[in-house]
């Protein structure tokens, strides 16, 4: 109320000041008027009604960015401008529906901020207005720094998979059409959910194997495990490796830069790993102390362009176990030929990257307080804007 009373007074004073200034301007204008006739004053500006900017349809070069303190922001890669944002809790995950109609946010709240009853839920936003259209209560979810594979959708967007850890490991399967939880599937000794097919998902395991979950004819899940196929103690696979949920294709990337090509499925096909460094004409990286070479590193450190089969990986020059350092280069690899296409030098070290899926893609790199939009062939900077980090990233059609 106090503010309301003072505002008109301020407005009156401001109007008076403007009036005085206008009179002052008039006195000089009189002399000028002798040379040419006075112009008509400009029309009074019309009063306005505050409204909400509609969100245009999602485009190929739009980037969805999760922020560490909460919020999922959409940035137009063609202008580097922000289009809008939805609310989310800290440590939230999000996923964009395959038809781009909905944005799903997996998040957690406590009634009194840091305490009180806890609620885990899947919040459903329309991408038309970014308005909340539904909430699905979850039996739990892992609270951690956000990871891409902690929350996923099936290829057709019918099901959602929420990784839970309390501290028993399970995946909460959600029917997104009925908007209700179907089942919690235990995956002991394994973590996250890597979707394949209509309802299947896989998970990497603490012993270097992989768990595979699938439904039987009655729609009930069962879980089996593969043999161990990677050296988890010395050269683990990044939990941010690329999974293409549309095809079940995965590129499991190890700390030393081995790429395991995998086709997820009821019986996953695990291909022979190949060395990124060897593909680039260097000696493969080792786990030896003091071995400084180019190694994959970063937060969301790899991204895949499906149509061309190109894998982009953030790289830095350093030692084994330095896997979290930001990358100074992006290596572009042909996954079919298992060859290096090019090495792109970044304008600044970046922690996360994402490539769009269209025929003329752009490559996003995020680091040191900026978002860079790059040409993925040349590495040329197309545009840039300020941005405080990204916990997760997503693009249309991936």
């Amino acid at each position: 109320m106090k503010n309301n009373r003072t505002m008109p007074n301020l407005a009156a004073k401001a109007a008076l000041a403007v009036h005085v200034l206008a009179l002052g301007g008039l006195s000089t204008g009189v002399a000028h008027a002798q040379a040419e006739p006075a112009k008509a004053p400009p029309p009074v500006l019309e009063s306005e009604v505050a409204t909400v900017t509609p969100l245009r349809p999602i485009k190929a070069h739009d980037l969805f960015i999760g922020q560490f303190d909460g919020g999922v922001r959409i940035i137009d890669g063609d202008t580097a401008k922000t289009l809008g944002q939805v609310y989310s809790s800290r440590y939230s995950n999000f996923a964009l529906a395959p038809d781009n109609a909905f944005l799903y946010v997996a998040e957690s709240y406590w009634a009194r901020g840091n305490r009180g009853p806890r609620e885990d839920l899947l919040s459903v936003y329309s991408t038309g207005k970014l308005d909340l259209v539904a909430e699905i209560k979850l039996p739990g979810r892992l609270i951690s720094d956000p990871k891409t594979h902690n929350f996923h959708l099936s290829a057709d967007g019918h099901y959602g998979y929420v990784y839970n850890f309390q501290p028993a490991s399970s995946v909460v399967v959600v029917d997104l059409q009925k908007r209700k939880v179907v089942e919690s599937v235990e995956i002991p000794g394994c973590g996250q959910a890597l979707p394949w097919g209509a309802r299947g998902f896989a998970a990497l395991c603490a012993d270097g194997a992989m768990a595979v979950a699938n439904v039987d004819a009655k729609g009930k899940y069962s879980v089996k495990r593969t043999d161990k196929f990677f050296d988890v103690d010395n050269d683990p696979i990044f939990d941010e490796s690329v999974i293409d949920r549309q095809t079940g294709e995965a590129f499991f990337l190890s700390y030393t830069g081995l790429i395991y090509p995998v086709k997820l499925g009821d019986t996953p096909q695990i291909g022979q790993p190949w060395s990124m460094q060897r593909a680039a004409g260097l000696a493969p990286a080792t786990t030896k102390v003091g071995h400084e070479t180019w190694r994959p590193s970063g937060s969301i450190l790899s991204t895949y362009h499906r149509a061309s089969g190109r894998l982009f990986v953030l790289m830095h020059e350093g030692m084994h176990w330095d896997y979290a350092k930001p990358g100074s280069e992006v290596w572009v690899l042909d996954t079919k030929q298992q060859k290096l296409i090019t090495r792109l030098e970044l304008p600044m070290a970046a922690g996360s990257i994402a490539v769009t899926q269209d025929a003329e893609p752009v490559l996003f790199a995020i680091g040191e307080g900026r978002l860079w939009v790059l040409n993925p062939d040349s590495g040329d900077v197309l545009r840039t804007t300020r941005l405080m980090g990204a916990s997760l990233v997503a693009v249309k059609d991936f």
Partner: protein, 178 residues
């Protein structure tokens, strides 16, 4: 050198759980046990290395020091991630006032440059107060992805406390690893 028997025991327990448990009830009971009984702060512990592997020096351990626990190269921080409690009013083994220690933790194995020995370090989060924001350190020696949670430092390890709000991380010395 022979390893501690408690270490072997915990490894056996963990391996058995990982290999044989598929019923929610058992794991839930273990979870309840963890939450209810801080007398077993080391479960679920799986050694950061396989049974017969000797812990070797790393690039972190080569540059580590033992005198300043507010610097990120302090030897115990080889697998840390977050705000170090020593900069927040606490220490490497005590939570700052206003926060609570979680009975659960992730585990690292660090080499003390003074004696050359490897030690198990329990990275226990202090919870309940808002993020400390001081001395962010990320040591990634043998830190594992999220599918190996007992050695993962991205999980908010505030299980078993009254609040899941992360404040800072301690680096509590558990014992010699060899």
């Amino acid at each position: 050198m022979k390893r501690f028997s408690v270490d072997k025991l915990s490894e056996k327990v963990t391996r058995r759980l990982a290999n044989q448990t598929s019923r929610r009830s058992v794991l839930s009971k273990l979870g309840a046990l963890l939450v209810a009984a801080p007398v077993f702060p080391l479960l679920p512990v799986q050694r950061a290395r396989a049974a017969d592997d000797k812990i070797t020096e790393t690039d972190f351990s080569r540059a580590a020091q033992t005198s300043d626990d507010t610097a990120c190269n302090y030897w115990r921080y080889c697998g840390s991630d977050g705000y170090m409690c020593s900069c927040c009013g606490g220490s490497v083994n005590s939570c700052p006032p206003g926060s609570q220690p979680s009975p659960t933790s992730w585990i690292g194995t660090c080499i003390n440059p003074d004696d050359g020995r490897s030690y198990l370090i329990a990275y226990r989060d202090c919870c309940g107060s808002s993020a400390c924001g001081q001395c962010f350190c990320e040591g990634t020696d043998r830190a594992m992805p999220i599918y190996r949670p007992q050695a993962n430092n991205h999980i908010i390890w505030c299980f078993g406390t009254s609040s899941m709000e992360y404040h800072c991380s301690m680096s509590v010395l558990v014992g010699a690893a060899e």
